[in-house]
């Protein structure tokens, strides 16, 4: 068992979990944050993407021990005071969501990108999202959404 201290969505978490537990399981089962999804368990689909210490990571490939002292952010953290983030709005407006199962992971990958690179090129967007599989949307609307969100965020910043 591991006595774990870290933060999730700005909240301090102290929890004791088995060594075999993945960050994904801690979020879904222990903290009831079921927005983060499991699609493959081997780092290939990106459905489990969260942001850890500023970087997009696959939470299915992170053991409890590796979370010690980290800052984790999940999809549940995007909406603030009942206001959707620009990214979420853009996903809705542009049809980037169909079944929605890939959506939380996509949003987190996109958020990590925009935080580091507010004006990404098309190629940079694709690179940031290459690890997130979507079987429904053909990706086109997702790319559009990230571009539009970046534009809006750019304007808002001015």
């Amino acid at each position: 068992m591991i006595a774990l201290k870290f933060t999730v969505n700005q909240q301090d978490i102290e929890i004791t979990v088995p060594d075999s537990m993945r960050l994904l399981d801690i979020l879904r089962e222990e903290l009831n944050l079921t927005g983060t999804k499991e699609g493959c368990g081997i780092g290939e689909c990106g459905a489990c993407t969260v942001i850890m210490d500023g970087a997009a990571v696959n939470s299915c490939l992170i053991l409890a021990e590796q979370c010690q002292g980290s800052r984790v952010e999940t999809v549940e953290n995007l909406e603030k005071d009942k206001i959707l983030s620009q990214l979420q709005e853009a996903f809705l407006e542009n049809g980037a969501v169909q079944c929605g199962f890939c959506t939380p992971g996509m949003l987190m990958s996109a958020k990590a990108l925009l935080a580091q690179n507010p004006h990404p090129s098309l190629e940079e967007i694709k690179t940031a999202l290459e690890g997130n599989l979507c079987r429904c949307t053909g990706y086109v609307p997702i790319i559009e959404s990230v571009q539009k969100a970046a534009e809006k965020l750019g304007k808002d910043a001015k």
Partner: protein, 1068 residues
């Protein structure tokens, strides 16, 4: 008029999906819930001679084990032929068969218990080959049905003998397609909950067709339909795939509830899903076509074998659609088609978006292009000559005069938008001048019957219920599967009632609240669900009208207009009433404001013996044009552009319709190019999405939807369907584009690297001993890990010395491998050890800590400047998420043949620093790696640093090429890394060429380097590399199964990399 029909409407269930609040199957929790797992068959065919569950039952926390003998109702289920056993009796038919199900306190205990169940078999030789299976001497998969041919549909029109004799030319071709796996991103999940009020169950989960699931569970559990209430969770994709399998899972969960009286959840891992779930049918299609010199089709004879795998499932329906549409949208007087569905001991096949059409479209559209070529006319011309027009007669004798036959229109629109004819010529001209990359453009057309057609009862239901305040609840018997149906149907209700979309709540129905709307398949959701919704909404209008007509001074409903939340007198707009007030009025007048709409599709007919009749009440038409770029060296195809023109009748939600086009064409492209589901001797080899590849975001370039509208008299507002047509054409058009690029016809999809390069789908052969996969975990998962974090390097070294801890850095390899291992794994987390996290530069070069991640490497400006070859290779490793975690040390120590950082590091002459508690040593990376997954690392040693020496001079040229099966997130198939330096006179004074994934281990290829050293780069000198390289490859890997592909390809890419360097040097 602000009609909402045809607008871009945000999906109404979007909010919960972007906030993570939507509840999918596995997100459900119930008090006291148990977790279930299944025990799969170990072999594809055999009798069970012993099944021992005692050891499993004794594991603490195991609550129940259900076997065949526990089934309270009927043990066999299936939509037409009941040949499927959710829990098998004494025989297994494929490796996805379930022998037992376990319920336990935790998932982990349930998994352990399934693995503790001991089974012995009397093995049968599995029936694995479709063409063998139909021969009379083949072993029968299910002896009780007396034949492996489970269904045969004939179709006869005219006289083919006469047709062939009137033809100028007759050709015969055979086409083959493989399995396609749905690969919805959400694996299946079902939860059964005891329902004391009915003495039955509530079933929740990722269920595509709640009514089917209800029926199957009732039969299996021996209950009445009203004792099973099925409630669909938000569905994480389905595409036809979450039908039978989920019903069968529901049976297993239900039987465990029956035994434990507790809620039971059964969630599948991706591996479970790939192994058990049904797929798209592989087809073998023999087409014989007779035609005149001018390209007019005279006769067509078609013989198709459809592989249904171990069970019949939906094969009856799937193959029926194929028989109706097999000739494509072409009028032919004389046709004979025979299609047979055939059992094998492989994964079974059933519904998948397209449903028996992508296969035949691939064949028939390839055939049309070939005929055009033979006749010397264009692909467009051949389809103009033969394509359906108003009043044409189909192969089944149906006269197409009840709807607009828009084939020529969609083809013309697509060709225009895609610039087909000019591009065709342009590409032909360009291809003459290029050697490696060729361009291609291809087209495919189809017609598709809407809804179920004569294959089944076609009716659906809806309830529109207006509340006293004017808000509306809408329920439908067809379901939201992610495609956006909730939004579409709500739009339809809003339009009829003239109210805002926000005023409508779409309730995810429970099977016990609304009658069976039939399955949400065959792209019928909009057409039948929409019509039922219209009926219900119109009924409501009539009722509300009865209480407001006096106020509006009208007598007939037709005299009113319902718009923008108000009801007006058509003649005198001043007379109006607000919809909400009208609702309130009706409520107080005691009017029933809940109306039921039932839509039964128009009559269709079918004659079984001859295959003649009105197969579908209406059809849609589509044409797609695909542009590809072909790498003739490697056989890799990249799809550059897809133009998709579809007659949808009428667009209801533009955002939704375009979304269907993007998604459907992407799946179709995957089907044509990369989706290669590998089953060897009945064992599923593609067991996760690292093996079964679907398109990533980088595989998609440009998709252009062209929505054509010809409102249909039977459709709601004229709408027909869009979901499936979008998928069915893309593979066919891609293949035609590829054939144009390569100048050769091709008869098999997917167009994998080997298929393109060698004309066959090369696969690693499986030995029988390997086939029965003992020793591996049945359910890959992390279960036996111990972790520790040392405070510093010294402690880390002590730990491995004493306790044999294995280092864990990013974990991207270690964790994936640990999932499969049965042993306890002791991991020491080293990625926070300071000494291992630095990148340091000195006069002599650079020292990279073993725990430095690839993202850190990529961001490092100095590395970018001095070691660009390394940067290039590292940028192509995995995905962003992987590069954020994976470390350079991990990549090296794991020593996978596909490790991408290794070849460039060898080229730079990198050394490794290896430390143990007692000792420190340095070693060349090239020596460190002994072979695949095999290194010189001692058990108590840790790789601490990678030392990359500076190159002896500035001004090296580099070239890198990585080959993968798709455009991103690849397991590298092969790579080549080259560093070259030229002296002032342009003579090669240093040259380093390293392979990746070719030889037993990556190495400098002296045979090549020696040819180049002390020479000037030139065409001839690069050509001179071929012979020694070829010899070297032959010597090293000549006998291997993959050599046939790898040898010629490596020679080509290696020479091309040298060429690249030569060009760079010339530009300087």
């Amino acid at each position: 008029m602000n009609s909402i029909i045809g607008q871009k409407v945000k999906r109404i269930d979007g909010y919960e999906k972007v906030t993570g609040k939507a509840v999918y199957g596995d997100d459900l929790k119930f008090p006291g819930m148990l977790h279930a797992a299944v025990r799969y068959a170990d072999i594809p065919a055999g009798k069970i001679t012993r099944l021992e569950t005692d050891a499993a039952a004794n594991i603490p926390g195991v609550k129940a084990i259900a076997l065949h003998s526990d089934i309270p109702g009927s043990d066999k289920v299936g939509p037409i032929r009941q040949d499927y056993l959710p829990i098998v009796k004494d025989e297994v038919f494929f490796t996805g068969d379930v022998l037992a199900v376990v319920a336990a306190e935790t998932k982990e205990i349930a998994y352990q218990a399934t693995e503790a169940i001991q089974v012995t078999y009397e093995e049968f030789e599995p029936v694995c080959n479709l063409e063998e299976a139909v021969k009379p001497e083949s072993r029968l998969v299910h002896p009780e049905y007396k034949s492996n041919i489970m269904v045969h549909y004939p179709l006869i029109k005219g006289d083919i003998r006469k047709g062939f004799s009137e033809s100028d030319k007759v050709i015969e071709r055979t086409y083959r397609t493989g399995y396609q796996e749905h690969t919805y991103i959400e694996p299946e999940s079902v939860t059964a909950v005891p329902d004391p009020s009915t003495n039955g169950f509530k079933i929740y989960g990722s269920i595509q067709n709640p009514y089917t699931t209800r029926k199957v569970v009732a039969i299996f559990m021996g209950l009445k339909l009203n004792q099973v209430n099925v409630i669909q969770s938000t569905l994480g994709g389905s595409f036809g795939g979450k039908d039978d399998i989920v019903s069968n899972m529901a049976c297993r969960a239900a039987i465990l509830v029956y035994k434990t009286e507790k809620p039971v959840k059964l969630t599948y891992t991706r591996e479970n899903s790939m192994r058990e779930s049904y797929k798209r049918h592989p087809y073998i299609m023999k087409y014989k076509a007779g035609f005149t010199k001018t390209g007019k089709l005279k006769a067509m004879q078609i013989n198709i074998l459809a592989e249904c795998g171990a069970y019949s499932s939906q094969t009856f329906f799937v193959t029926w659609r194929s028989v109706v549409q097999a000739t494509g949208p072409y009028q032919i007087e004389n046709v004979q088609t025979d299609i047979k569905g055939v059992y094998t001991n492989k994964p079974y096949t059933a519904a998948f978006r397209g449903f028996g059409s992508p296969q035949i479209i691939f064949a028939q559209e390839s055939l049309m292009d070939e005929i055009a070529q033979i006749c010397g006319i264009s692909p467009i011309e051949i389809r103009k000559i033969n394509g359906y027009k108003q009043g044409s007669i189909t192969a089944s004798g149906q006269v197409l005069d009840q709807h607009k036959v828009s084939l020529q229109q969609v083809m013309q629109k697509a060709a225009h938008k895609a610039n087909f004819t000019p591009k065709y010529k342009q590409f032909q001209a360009k291809n003459k001048k290029t050697s490696r990359y060729k361009l291609g453009i291809g087209l495919a057309c189809s017609f598709r019957g809407c809804s179920l057609g004569a294959e089944g009862t076609d009716a659906s239901s809806a309830i529109v219920s207006v509340q006293a305040d004017g808000s509306v609840i809408l329920l439908s018997g067809v379901t939201e599967n992610g495609q956006g149906l909730r939004t579409t149907l709500s739009q339809i209700a809003a339009e009829i009632l003239g109210i805002d979309l926000n005023q409508i709540t779409f309730l995810q129905p429970q099977t016990s609240t609304i009658n069976d709307g039939g399955p949400t398949v065959a792209s019928r959701g909009t057409i039948v669900g929409g019509n039922a919704t219209i009926k219900a909404a119109n009924e409501i209008k009539k009722r509300i009208f009865s209480v407001i007509k006096d106020e509006l001074k009208v007598h007939k409903l037709e005299q009113t207009v319902w718009q923008n939340g108000n009801i007006f007198n058509k003649q005198d707009k001043k007379l109006s009433i607000n919809f909400n007030q009208a609702a309130e009025k009706a409520y107080f007048a005691g009017i029933n404001l809940s109306a039921y709409g039932w839509f039964k599709a128009p009559e269709v007919s079918w004659e079984e013996e001859t295959g003649q009749g009105i197969a579908y009440f209406t059809y849609v038409y589509g044409c797609q044009i695909v542009e590809v770029k072909l790498d003739t060296f490697t056989g890799k195809i990249s799809v550059e552009k897809i133009t998709a023109a579809h007659d949808v009748g009428k667009v209801i939600n533009r955002l939704g319709a375009e979304g269907q086009v993007y998604g459907g064409t992407t799946q179709g492209m995957g089907y044509g190019v990369m989706e290669d589901f590998d089953v060897q001797r009945g064992i599923v080899k593609s067991d996760n999405v690292d093996q079964y590849l679907i398109p990533t975001i980088k595989d998609i370039k440009e998709i252009q939807p062209v929505l054509v509208e010809n409102p249909d008299k039977y459709g709601p507002f004229g709408a027909k369907s869009i979901g499936e047509p979008t998928l069915e054409l893309t593979a066919a058009a891609t293949n035609n584009a590829y054939c144009m690029a390569s100048g050769q016809r091709s008869y098999r999809i997917p167009l994998t690297l080997e298929q393109v390069k060698l004309g066959k789908n090369l696969k690693k052969p499986v030995r029988q001993s390997e086939a029965s996969h003992s020793g591996k975990k049945l359910h890959p998962r992390l279960s036996n890990i111990k972790t520790i974090t040392p405070v510093n390097l010294a402690e880390a070294l002590r730990l491995i010395h004493k306790q044999k801890f294995q280092p864990l850095a990013g974990g991207t390899d270690v964790i994936v491998q640990a999932r499969k291992s049965n042993k306890t794994i002791k991991l020491m987390h080293i990625s926070k050890i300071e000494e291992l996290e630095k990148i340091e530069f000195s006069e002599t070069g650079c020292k990279i800590g073993a725990a430095v991640t690839f993202s850190q490497i990529l961001e490092n400006k100095k590395l970018q400047k001095h070691f660009p070859l390394l940067i290039k290779a590292c940028s192509l490793i995995g995905s962003t998420q992987i590069r954020n975690r994976a470390t350079i040390g991990g990549n090296i120590v794991n020593a996978a043949p596909c490790a991408d950082s290794v070849p460039p590091l060898i080229a730079y002459g990198a050394k490794l620093k290896l430390q143990s508690a007692q000792n420190t040593r340095e070693m060349l990376l090239a020596d460190f790696i002994k072979g695949s997954y095999n290194t010189q690392l001692l058990p108590d040693e840790l790789l601490t640093h990678i030392i990359v020496p500076k190159l002896p001079h500035p001004g090296y040229f580099y070239s890198y090429f990585q080959l993968g099966r798709r455009q991103a997130v690849n397991i590298t198939r092969m790579s080549v890394s080259v560093l070259v330096h030229l002296n002032e006179s342009g003579i090669v004074d240093d040259c380093r060429v390293v392979d990746g994934s070719l030889f037993k281990k990556p190495q400098r290829i002296k045979a090549v380097e020696e040819v180049l050293l002390k020479q000037k780069l030139s065409k001839d000198i690069i050509a001179a590399v071929e012979q020694p390289l070829s010899q070297k490859i032959e010597d090293e890997i000549g006998g291997r199964w993959s050599a046939e592909y790898k040898k010629p390809v490596f020679i080509d890419i290696c020479q091309d990399a040298l060429n690249d360097i030569w060009q760079q040097a010339r530009k300087k």
